[in-house]
Point group: C2
Chain length 112, copies 2
DNA sequence: TTCAATACCTAGACGGACAAGGCAATGGAG
DNA sequence: CTCCATTGCCTTGTCCGTCTAGGTATTGAA
């Protein structure tokens, strides 16, 4: 896939996954991969910095836990995070509609 | 709009517009704006470097013309450019499907 | 013992979109 | 005539998110 397309969407994808319940980095990347049918392969160099940004912006809160000898940093969506997620989804919708508008609705609309 | 989302799509949008017939920078930005219902506002600092990249990659060919005292650099899609456009559109489709997959089809599918 | 999988992290490189600047011609408002 | 919006092209430098590639550590199976 073209990684350039990813710009600005990684945070939305992460927030969306965390919105379904507390989870941690490694699992997030797995979930994103599965739910996109293998299309996305979130790299650690993108994933962890993004998680740190989101936490710093207080869109996510975190706590450490240990399961079967494995340290995991769990993330939970904050109220502010839910608001941000809603905004990002609205922005994504507007963006994709904008792109499809330029591409010509007749081209993609039927299959989409 | 979130300009980060634009990453990787500007070239596709330009190729698509040029694919409908020879045109020039200023008109391309107008067309993209109109066809996205005002959503996109292609900045010159993005537009012209992108046109130069596309020409350098031989996806576009260009020629100068003058109409009513105004110098215009017209661009035309090459065969290679059409192939690249098709690929970019396929990539966009896969990408947007991937995103929507993560967001959950039930969320966006009805409205889309 | 070795290696895949799990699980976290970081430094540095890369590259495209942006802001802000420049140049030049037209044509209408004042 | 003068000003300025519009048309039309271009470039420099900044910004910042993604990636590559590296590091550490545990578990459990081959």
């Amino acid at each position: 896939m073209d990684s350039r397309l990813l710009w600005g969407t990684v945070e939305m994808l992460i927030l969306e996954v965390v919105a379904q319940g507390p989870t941690y980095g490694y699992e997030i990347s797995q979930t994103v991969g599965e739910r996109s049918r293998g299309y996305f392969d979130l790299k650690e160099g993108s994933l962890y910095p993004a998680l740190h940004r989101l936490e710093q912006q207080k869109l996510l809160t975190s706590f450490w836990d240990e399961v079967e000898g494995r340290r995991r940093k769990y993330y939970k969506l904050s109220v502010k995070g839910q608001t941000a997620l809603d905004a990002k989804k609205a922005a994504w919708k507007a963006f994709s509609q904008g792109v499809n508008g330029v591409l010509g609705a007749h081209v993609l609309a039927p299959g989409l």
